[in-house]
Amino acid sequence: MTDQQIIEAYWQRNEAAIQESSLKYGKYCFTIAHHILRNQEDAEECVNDTWMKAWNSIPPGRPGNLKLFLARITRNLSLNKYRSQRTDKRGGGELELILDELGEILSAEEGTEEEYMAKVLGETVNQFLHSLPERQCNIFVRRYFYSESIPEISDRYQLSSHYITVILSRTRRKLKQYLNKEGFLL
C-alpha cells in the first residue's frame, strides 16, 4: 500500500490502515521509541499506542508525510513515557544525556505553558536549522530529533565521534545565542 492508500484507509475507518502502518513503519517507529526509552517492551508499547493515536487523529487530519507524522507521534509518546518513568527514578539511557545537553542551552526557569512554548519555540528552532550548513543540520537532527547516540551518528556519516561531539557542541552554542536573541532565554 502507498502512504496515500493507508491514509485513505484511516479515513474509511478500515483497520487495515493500522496493519499496513505497522508493516511499513513499525520498525522505523520502534527504532525511534527505542532510542528514547532503551527498553524493548516500553518501545513496543509506544509503537502500539502510535497506531491508536494515528487512528484517532486521521480523520480529521490528513498528514502530508505519513512516515514523519507517525515519527512525531512515537517521539511524543516515548517522551511522555520517559517522563512518567523518570518521576519514579532517574534512569540512564541516551535521552538522559540528550536532555542534559539541551539543558545547557536553557536557563533554569520553569513554569511557562509548556505546550504553547513548545510550538513557538519549534518555529524558532526551525528557522535556526534552515540557517545551518547541511551536514551540521543533519547531525543536529539525528541527535536531537531521532535521539541517536554519538557512535550511531558517527557510523551513519562515517565521521569520528570527536568530530560529531564538536559539531553538536558548536551547534548548541549557536542555538543558545539564537534563542537568546529571540528573547527565549531572557
Binding site: 536532555l99 511557562t112 509548556e114 512554548m117 519549534g122 540557517s131 543540520c137
Partner: protein, 279 residues
C-alpha cells in the same frame, strides 16, 4: 522553559529537513577504497621486506623455490585479500543500509560505481565529467521512495573535510518557491548576509537564501561567485564553500562543495547544459 519543552519543540522541524537527514545517511567521508588498498599494500611491502632482507644478506645465490614470497606476489595476494575485504565491507555496508530502519522497506537504495552512475538513465549525464585534482570518488547512490528520488555522487579529499556533493532529482512543484532570477540578488547573494545567517537573513527569505534554484539560462560566473563564501571554523576546511541548485528543464542539479574553485563549478554546470541540450 525546560529541556523537555525544547526536546518536544523539535517535533516542529520541517519535513524536508528530516527527510534530508535520512536520505543523506552515510553520505559521509570514509577512506576511499583505493587508498585503503594502497595503505594495505605498503604495510605488506614492509612485512615482506622484513622477511626478504635477511635472506638477501645471508644468501649470495637465490634459490627461487626456497625463496619466500616475493614482494610482488605478496602485494598481489594482499590486493586480492584486500579486495575481498573491500567487497565484504561494501556488502556489509549495504546490509547495514537494508537493516537501517529509517529507510522504508520498499525504497530503492542502490550503491553504484562512478561508471554505473554516469551511465544511469536518464540522469547520469548530469554528473560532472571531471573532478578537480585531489578529490577521490566516495560514493554514488540511486535512491527512491514514495517521497523522494535522486541520483547522487560524493567526492572527498583525503586528509581534509573538502568535498563535492552532487545530487540530481526531478523538478517538483514544491521547489517553485526556491527558484530565483539572477537579477534578484537578495534571494541568493551570500555577501549580503554575514554569518551567523540566522541573524542576518530575513525570515521570509530563509528557504530561498539557504538553497536557491537558478535556471541554467541565468547562471553566470557572477551568480556562482555570489554563492561562494569562506568560513573560519577551527578544525574544518577553510576552502570556498558553495551550495545551490540549477534547473535544466525538468531536472534539478543540487551542488554543495567545499574547497573547489567557483570557476570550475561554473564550467561544469554550463558543460552539463551543452551535453544534455546540445541545441
Amino acid at each position: 522553559m525546560n529541556q523537555y519543552t525544547l526536546y518536544q519543540s523539535l517535533n516542529a522541524i520541517d519535513d524536508n529537513i528530516l527527510i534530508r537527514s535520512e536520505s543523506s545517511s552515510r553520505a559521509g567521508r570514509s577512506l576511499p577504497l583505493i587508498k585503503r588498498v594502497s595503505l594495505a599494500a605498503c604495510f605488506c611491502l614492509m612485512l615482506a621486506g622484513i622477511f626478504i632482507i635477511p635472506n638477501l644478506l645471508q644468501s649470495t645465490r637465490f634459490e627461487t623455490n626456497s625463496f619466500p614470497k616475493s614482494p610482488l606476489e605478496t602485494i598481489i595476494e594482499t590486493n586480492v585479500i584486500d579486495s575481498d575485504i573491500g567487497n565484504t565491507t561494501h556488502i556489509n555496508d549495504e546490509n547495514r543500509l537494508d537493516e537501517e530502519r529509517v529507510i522504508p522497506p520498499d525504497a530503492v537504495n542502490q550503491l553504484l560505481t562512478w561508471e554505473e552512475a554516469q551511465a544511469f538513465e536518464p540522469w547520469g549525464t548530469y554528473l560532472p565529467t571531471r573532478i578537480p585534482a585531489g578529490y577521490a570518488e566516495e560514493s554514488f547512490r540511486w535512491y527512491q521512495d514514495e517521497n523522494t528520488c535522486f541520483l547522487s555522487g560524493l567526492w572527498t579529499q583525503y586528509g581534509s573535510y573538502d568535498e563535492i556533493s552532487w545530487r540530481i532529482s526531478p523538478y517538483r512543484e514544491a521547489m517553485a518557491d526556491r527558484i530565483t532570477s539572477a537579477s534578484d540578488t537578495r534571494n541568493y547573494d551570500l555577501s549580503l548576509y554575514p554569518i551567523p545567517r540566522a541573524d542576518s537573513v530575513p525570515k521570509e527569505l530563509y528557504q530561498i537564501v539557504d538553497h536557491p534554484i537558478f535556471r541554467i539560462e541565468e547562471l553566470t560566473m557572477e551568480v556562482v561567485n555570489r554563492r561562494a563564501y569562506t568560513l573560519n571554523d577551527a578544525g574544518d576546511s577553510n576552502g570556498v564553500r558553495m551550495s545551490f541548485c540549477v534547473l535544466y528543464d525538468d531536472v534539478v542539479v543540487d551542488v554543495t562543495t567545499k574547497g573547489v574553485d567557483p570557476e570550475w563549478l561554473y564550467e561544469q554546470l554550463i558543460l552539463l547544459q551543452d551535453i544534455n541540450n546540445p541545441s
